[in-house]
Amino acid sequence: MRTLLAALLVAAATTAQAQYPNRPVQLIVPWGAGGGTDATARIIGALMEKELKQPFNVVNRTGGSGVVGHDAIARAPADGYTLGLITVEITMMHHVGLTPLTYKDYTPIGLMNADPSGISVRADSPYKSVKDLLAAVKANPGKFKASGTGQGGIWHLAIAGLLKDQGIDPGALPWVPSQGAAPGLQDLVSGGVEVVPCSIPEARAMIDAGKVRALAIMDDNPPALYPNLPTLKKELGTNWKIAAWRVIAAPKGLPADVQKTLAIALKKVYDSKDYKEFMAKQGYGTVWAGPEDTAKFMAASDANLGGALKAVGLAK
């Protein structure tokens, strides 16, 4: 009801703003209540509320693999009263022809988090290293299956791009689309698929329960949760890395002073003990970039992922 009230307020209020913000702010999440993006948005919202003394109402606009929510953020009035937590998919979807929207349709405020992809197998799998696994995939094209997100999603791209990078046909490891990492992991444990590339926090409960073994992480450094997990660089000598990230952004054309106010508040939120503790407990990685660096970061991500999507034949 609170979100509803806020939405009505936002719709009804005039643009005249004495001192931003002077009324509640809506924070749109393109993903469902309960997921990692939603949880991150809710803690950011709660902490921004403390900083800027106005309610931050988290609103889930789900559906269409994120298209609907990202669209809603881009189309909102650029007055600082509608923000969104945009995700890595914004630099992927337009390459596949799902939406004309790109990262350029937003005013970046700050990068808040990035979770690199891992590679996991069942605990009783004979493959103890990513090298063994890839050799087996290469030797038996089509025999193993992988899952963990929808067709053409970030984790699909992570493994397909790695295979391409290693000179293996991405089609050698067919992708089984799933509604997310949790059903993919369940499928891994039940014997339906053999490989799940997803972020380490997503696989954490299954790793700790002794059901799943992580083989490697697609990042420069091992994750804080499992400092002994090898990086791809160490295992294969490749620079291939990929991460899902989350950025707080506003619609394009946000006034510079509002952007500045928000960026300063967001930096304080990022540095706060509450945020760091929350993210550490969930196992999520924290990375900060201010408005300009976030724009550069998203441009780089767009170029990387676009190239990868083309290379594995997913781009239009």
Binding site: M1, R61, V68, L98, P177, A182, A205
Partner: protein
């Protein structure tokens, strides 16, 4: 273990925790009553509040609020034909038919009492065998889910008392609607007509509110029905006759509770699917299936118990493996991590008092549901005394608010109105709407599990029957589907043999 339970008692029976339980119970009852606001949404709204609570009250708030919301979703369903949450949709028509017959109190009382019993059943299963059951649930793969969904769809055709042909057509309409959008295994937008909102598909809640409630309002406008007669002198007697029902329907109760728990444990299917399947099962096994759909309490007993037991069942894989059994536990898992109660077998070994405290909260929530639910029903019943020309516009307003709130978009309101009109036309022509809604609930799951299975088996159809659990489910599905035909042939054969002169 006894020591741990003693500690758990101390954790739960603490004034602060008890206050949290009471407040979240009232919150849950309120949310469940409002069409469009679901138990999942109640949980999402509670999350920011639980940030500031210790672990046990944080989890207690979610457990209590959701149990209450699933029950109180029955109230507008029975009184106004608007299911408060999708979990009540399966038997909304039945409960509303009872209200029309002047038996609103029996319908609501059954909803309340058997919800509580179902919830306690699920909790008992969770307390005694959570780790073992979660282990079995992990053995389920897409092949098994596929058969479970087909079983659910087979049931759809038999619910209600419309003709099987018309029910099947309604189901196909639902399956068609389920095809809309981008959330299909190929990730390819279908039937979106170039509208961004339709890329997200048709959300269940605006559709459901439209098909049940808006169509009812249209019917009122067209036919100007006389006001409902309610036996108002029996106020506060919702518990009357419940013992009789318990004695009369012990099997539906046990069956519903057991099926609900099993469905709840399966990741991806929750209280709403449990209610649909057990309602269909109640009719299948009933001695008087012809009474279903005309205001017969048996299906409400079974399905009312099932949706609440599913709620407890969903926590089993969530606690043991961090795998959500439904959308509510998907949110709750985040809260568990946040509070340092990391899901996993270690949770049962390292801090057993916390897990036992969660069990106790489940028991407590289902017990206080009885008095609080009684009060809610008592208050809500007054709604029926309002003149209908005041009540109906107010309901329409609620429908609009609810369908807006689910995704904060006017598009939801539009969907509600369109589906309301569609349902009105369907029902005026004798097509039931419930199968269409079930088609939307299950259509996506069916497609997804079928495609995934086919990818995994490299296009080999026999994989659907060669796994042991899948094979068993396949056989059960075919028996249920072809039972009526088999029975008919059998009767024909015998009547020919015994009465050759009849012709």
């Amino acid at each position: 273990m006894l020591h741990a339970y003693a500690q758990a008692f101390a954790l739960v029976f603490d004034p602060y925790v008890l206050t949290v339980i009471l407040c979240s119970a009232l919150f849950g009852l309120f949310v469940g009553c409002i069409p469009g606001l679901t138990a999942t949404m109640a949980t999402a709204l509670l999350v920011p509040i639980t940030f500031f609570m210790p672990p046990v009250p944080a989890v207690a708030a979610i457990v209590t609020a959701t149990a209450m919301a699933i029950f109180s979703g029955d109230i507008p369903g029975a009184l106004l034909r608007i299911p408060g949450t999708p979990a009540s949709a399966a038997y909304t028509d039945e409960a509303y038919a009872m209200t029309k017959k002047g038996q609103a109190e029996v319908a609501l009382g059954a909803g309340l009492v058997f919800s509580a019993i179902g919830g306690l059943f699920g909790t008992a299963v969770m307390m005694t065998s959570a780790p073992a059951l979660a282990e079995i649930a992990l053995k389920f793969s897409d092949y098994e889910y596929f058969w479970m969904v087909v079983l659910g769809l087979a049931g759809a055709v038999f619910i209600g008392n419309a003709s099987v042909l018309k029910a099947s057509m309604s189901l196909l309409l639902g399956l068609l609607v389920a095809c809309i959008g981008l959330d299909n295994p190929a990730g390819y937008p279908r039937f979106d007509l170039g509208i961004t909102e339709l890329k997200g598909g048709v959300s269940l809640i605006p559709m459901m509110v439209g098909m049940f409630a808006v169509s009812e309002i249209l019917r009122f406008v067209v036919h100007m029905d006389p006001p409902l007669k309610l036996a108002t002198e029996k106020i506060g007697n919702v518990f009357k006759g419940m013992w009789g029902l318990l004695v009369k329907y012990p099997w539906p109760l046990v069956r519903g509770s057991a099926l609900g728990t099993v469905i709840g444990i399966q990741p991806g299917s929750g209280a709403d699917m449990a209610a649909w399947m057990s309602y269909a099962m109640a009719k299948k096994f009933s001695k008087e299936p012809e009474k279903f759909g005309t205001g017969h309490v048996e299906g409400i007993v079974e399905a009312g118990a099932a949706n609440n037991s599913a709620l407890a069942g969903a926590w089993i894989p969530a606690l043991v493996f961090g795998i959500p059994g439904d959308s509510i536990t998907a949110i709750a898992i985040g809260v568990l991590y946040l509070k340092g109660l990391n899901p996993g077998p270690t949770l049962f070994i390292n801090n057993p008092q916390n897990i036992y405290a969660i069990f106790l909260v489940f028991v407590l929530a289902n017990i206080i549901m009885l008095p609080l639910g009684w009060l809610t029903i008592k208050a809500a019943k007054n709604v029926l005394r309002l003149p209908r020309n005041i009540l109906m516009p107010a309901i329409l307003l609620f429908c609009i608010v609810g369908s807006f709130a689910i995704n904060n978009t006017v598009f939801g309101v539009l969907l509600t109105l369109v589906f309301g009109l569609l349902a009105f036309v369907l029902e005026e022509n004798g097509f039931p709407v419930a199968p269409a809604i079930l088609g939307v609930v299950l259509g996506q799951m069916m497609e997804e599990n079928f495609i995934k299975s086919m990818i995994k088996s490299d296009g080999d159809v026999t994989a659907f029957v060669t796994r042991p659990i899948a094979g068993f489910l396949a056989v059960s599905t075919f028996i249920i589907l072809f039972w009526p035909i088999g029975a008919w042939l059998w009767r024909r054969y015998f009547s020919r043999r015994n009465m050759p002169v009849a012709e």
